[in-house]
Amino acid sequence: MVEILSYEFIQNAIFSAILISLIAGIVGSLVVVNRMVFLTGGVAHSAYGGIGMALYFGIPLFFGAVVFAVFTAIILAVLTFKKRSDMDTFIGVIWAVGMAIGIIFVDLTEGYNVDLMSYLFGSILAVDSNDIYFMVGLLILTIIIVVIWYRDILAVSYDMEYAMLRGIDIKKFYTLILVLSALSVVVAIKVVGLILVIALFTIPVYIAQRISKSLWVMMIIASMISLIASLIGLFLSYSFNLTSGASIILINAFIFILFLIFYHKK
């Protein structure tokens, strides 16, 4: 057991599990209380467009995914803010178009690139130092934003119309939450893959929401649940040679089922 901790890829995997759990706990809480889960799913899947384009143009895939996801988040923020009744349609379109762009660009790229699979299903054991640095940067940025603007973010998340009447720039915070969720989702894709990423942002958060009396407590509890699930999932993945992303999500789901059974018994 101690021996495997000496491997650099295992150390990176553990670091990334800790970092992504904290990010998913904080940003996932914002996503859920703002009822942006489907929106975040759309951004996650559209990121595949950036991955495909990056592959075609020969630039780093992660960079392509980040730029494309943030661009998509801003477009969605503008469109859905103006016409919230059409939100589902816009998300559906961006979800599918992003994936389609990605697939077409992969088709146009000569040769087969196995690395793409890690973006679809995640590979925590393939996380490198650069990914860790990005995660640390994003976590620090997220914490700074939440601490500085906690009251405004809380007001916008709880009652957007009232926040606007109080003079809070709701467009700014709506876009900020969406961009933050885009960045977080892209980082999490490395760990659990874009197909499973949305579960990481919703399952621990759902449990935390039920037992928390405030948003910041919800963020901490969600992060802790996510951390426990990620570390157990990682251990099982390494021990039984299973796909890491799927293992982590299934542990989350197991905790979720246990919670539902005991919470409703209470």
Binding site: R151, L154, S157, Y158, Y162, L215
Partner: protein, 245 residues
């Protein structure tokens, strides 16, 4: 002192006229009830007053100026149904949202602000629930929280949109009694369907159905309350001439 002055207000949405030639005013201490059928433009009028919508033509002045210049003097209680009851937030934190400006620290509120919020909760009769999660409260209690949030900033005007929707009759009465008490220091505008209740508390009524019929109620109030406890909107309008005016 003029609290609200609306002159020749018109509002259209995608070529459909929603409000036509509305002129209306209220003075300090007034309790104005806005009534009317669904789709008649009551909520639109409220959104125009609050600056959420922009008039097609006409003028709205609050305290002789715009809403934006006076938003700290106005408290607003939205419809009960608009609130997310699953949100992880305590009653006291909802009330603290009512501050427009704060001597805040980064993450939280000053002791004086929390103290004031507790006093407001005491005033609306639910200080014992301050640490409870908002979702655990009844509809009537939640509405008191919203009123506490609206008044913690010491407003001069309180605007309420259907404050007693989905609340039982006992809760409705308590809310209106609270509003009567607040009306001694705060002017009030309330959108409501509860005609018989409104007649017991409001000093004037504006009936909105695309256009406006406005009346002082004092001359009718005693008669209405004595004659019929379950007074309906049509009877009221016949009395004040709204159906023909």
């Amino acid at each position: 002192m003029s609290i609200l002055e609306i002159k020749d207000l018109n509002f259209s949405y995608e070529k459909e006229v929603i409000l036509k030639d509305i002129s209306l005013g209220m003075k300090e201490g007034d309790f104005l009830a806005i009534i009317g059928p669904n789709g008649g433009g009551k909520s639109t009028l409220l959104k125009l007053i609050l600056g959420i919508l922009t008039p097609t033509s006409g003028d709205i002045k609050l305290f002789n100026d715009s809403f934006r210049a006076n938003f700290s003097r106005i408290g607003y209680v939205p419809q009960n149904t608009n609130i997310n009851i699953d949100f992880p937030i305590k009653v006291i934190d909802v009330v603290l949202m009512g501050y427009t400006e704060s001597k805040k620290k980064l993450f939280g509120y000053s002791k004086a602000e929390i103290q004031k919020a507790m006093e407001v909760l005491e005033e609306v009769g639910i200080s014992s629930l301050a640490q409870n999660k908002i979702g655990s409260l009844s509809g009537g209690q939640r509405q008191r929280v919203m009123i506490a949030r609206a008044i913690c900033n010491n407003p001069k005007l309180l605007i309420l949109d259907e404050p007693t929707a989905s609340i039982d009759s006992m809760g409705q009465k308590q809310i209106y009694e609270l509003l009567r008490k607040l009306n001694t220091t705060i002017s009030i505008i309330v959108v409501s369907h509860d005609i018989s209740v409104i007649l017991s508390y409001a000093s004037s009524v504006a009936y909105i159905n695309r256009s406006l019929v406005y009346h002082q109620l004092a001359q009718y109030k005693d008669r209405v309350i004595k004659e019929n406890e379950h007074f309906c909107e049509v009877e009221l309008l016949e009395m004040i001439g709204g159906l023909h005016g």
